[in-house]
């Protein structure tokens, strides 16, 4: 029986704990141990970004992080975007602007857009396209994703 490490971190504002082998990837801990199936496994090769989470202020592909590296981390997934029954501006915008079709890339895409807008609250279209370069979408052609992020950026700026 391989050695397990006890790892504690904050997930969407709540403390969680998991006992994992060193080799367990964060995406599996989130999905299979902690029941957070929002982040998806899309490629297995660190390309697609469907597994993107927000970790200590960074957009990170959770398929390429070991859970043992996350001791004490502050983590947000798509499940944590909605607050008190109200959708986050990004979620609302993706809905209104039809920024998704099959929805598989969407949790990672929104989670990445969340950090992108914190890095740059007023991004140009070029900034957005470059900023989501780590998130692949096979359905939409990205146009409505860009519109959704632009719409959310406006709403968030107005609310400040």
């Amino acid at each position: 029986m391989a050695k397990t490490h006890k790892v504690s971190f904050k997930l969407n504002g709540k403390p969680v704990e998991a006992a994992v082998e060193a080799r367990e990837l964060l995406i599996y801990t989130l999905r299979e141990r902690l029941g957070h199936t929002g982040p998806h496994i899309g490629c297995e090769t660190t390309h697609c970004g469907a597994c993107t989470v927000d970790l200590d202020g960074m957009s990170v592909k959770s398929c390429t992080v070991l859970t043992v590296q996350c001791e004490g981390a502050d983590m947000t997934t798509i499940e944590g975007m909605e607050q008190g029954g109200t959708l986050h501006a990004l979620q609302q915008a993706f809905h209104e602007e039809h920024g998704l079709q099959c929805g598989y890339c969407t949790p990672g895409m929104i989670t990445r857009a969340y950090r992108l807008l914190k890095e740059n609250p007023n991004p140009s279209e070029q900034d957005i396209r470059k900023g989501i370069a780590g998130n692949l979408c096979r359905c939409t052609g990205y146009q409505n994703i860009v519109k959704a992020v632009q719409s959310a950026a406006k709403k968030l700026a107005a609310a400040r």
């Binding site: 490490h5 060193a22 080799r23 990837l25 592909k61 992080v65 043992v68 780590g134």
Partner: protein
């Protein structure tokens, strides 16, 4: 698609990390950003029995200037490089190069030291380091030694780093004022490795080239310094003739591996084209 079992260590100090590396020897791999190593481990191309995570050693991160030298901790992330005012002002070639690496998520975790140490010819930093005449501080049980980037890269996944050493710092002489610079990278899509890429640092004296540094990414088993191309430009003006000659000489030393990015002939031609564009862009930026 998950790694084989291994033991995980997270030393909190550099001496601890060096001690662990010495103790565990060949069974251990160092973990930096993990975005080259973990993908390999998931495919089981790498199966180290031990991982030594350098992520908790604070002294390995940071960007500073000491005299005429920029010093960058090996665990500094690509994201950190991109956000550095010091680098933007003093070594913009490095910032431009870092911006071409992978994608935003990978750049949050990927480190300059990991990119250099991994020994993948597709990584971008080796050519940038050669063009910038950088040196690497290698720290082991017997202390530190400083090795030039030019000559550091030996082959696929092979560098001058000894088994008991850790790359701890990158040192870059501040390029001369008025230097022109450019990193031109051709890739199939955003985030891909280079089909071909060239790093150029250019010093002009009036209309003539005083000094040129030209280094190639992914054109052979390691990053390559295009010495003959550099020499061909000395004292010359930048024009079609000199650019053609420099490109020809750069292509001459290419030995690209054919793969899904192209066959050897195509890649060699693209190396010539990226070299030409990098020289043109560097020339446009240079103030002699």
């Amino acid at each position: 698609m998950i790694p084989r079992e291994f033991e995980y260590h997270a030393p909190r100090s550099l001496p601890d990390a060096i001690g662990l590396l010495k103790q565990l020897g060949e069974d251990a791999k160092l973990l930096a950003g993990g975005h080259s190593l973990l993908p390999m481990m998931k495919l089981r191309f790498a199966q180290p029995a031990h991982l030594i995570d350098l992520g908790k050693i604070a002294e390995l991160r940071g960007i500073s200037q000491a005299g005429n030298e920029i010093r960058i901790g090996a665990m500094t992330t690509e994201h950190d490089l991109l956000g550095s005012r010091l680098l933007a002002e003093k070594a913009p070639l490095l910032v431009e190069g870092a911006g071409w690496i992978a994608d935003p998520q990978v750049r949050y975790k990927g480190t300059i030291g990991g990119d250099i140490s991994h020994g993948d010819p597709g990584n971008d930093h080796p050519a940038l380091m050669i063009a910038l005449d950088a040196s690497f501080v290698l720290t082991g049980p017997k202390g530190e030694r400083v090795v030039k980037a030019d000559g550091y890269f030996l082959g696929l996944y092979s560098t001058q780093l000894a088994a008991d050493e850790i790359l701890t710092q990158i040192r870059i002489p501040v390029p001369a004022a008025g230097s022109g610079w450019s990193y031109q990278k051709l890739k199939r899509k955003t985030g891909d490795f280079a089909t071909a890429a060239t790093a150029v640092l250019l010093q002009m004296k009036g209309r003539s080239v005083a000094r040129a540094s030209i280094a190639l990414t992914n054109a052979g088993p390691t990053a390559l310094r295009a010495r003959e191309a550099e020499a061909s430009l000395a004292g010359k003006e930048i024009n079609d003739a000199s650019l053609n000659e420099a490109a020809r000489l750069a292509m001459k030393i290419c030995d690209p591996a054919p793969d899904q990015r192209g066959d050897a002939q195509y890649k060699r031609a693209m190396c010539g084209e990226m070299t030409r564009r990098a020289l043109q862009a560097a020339h446009a930026r240079a103030k002699g």
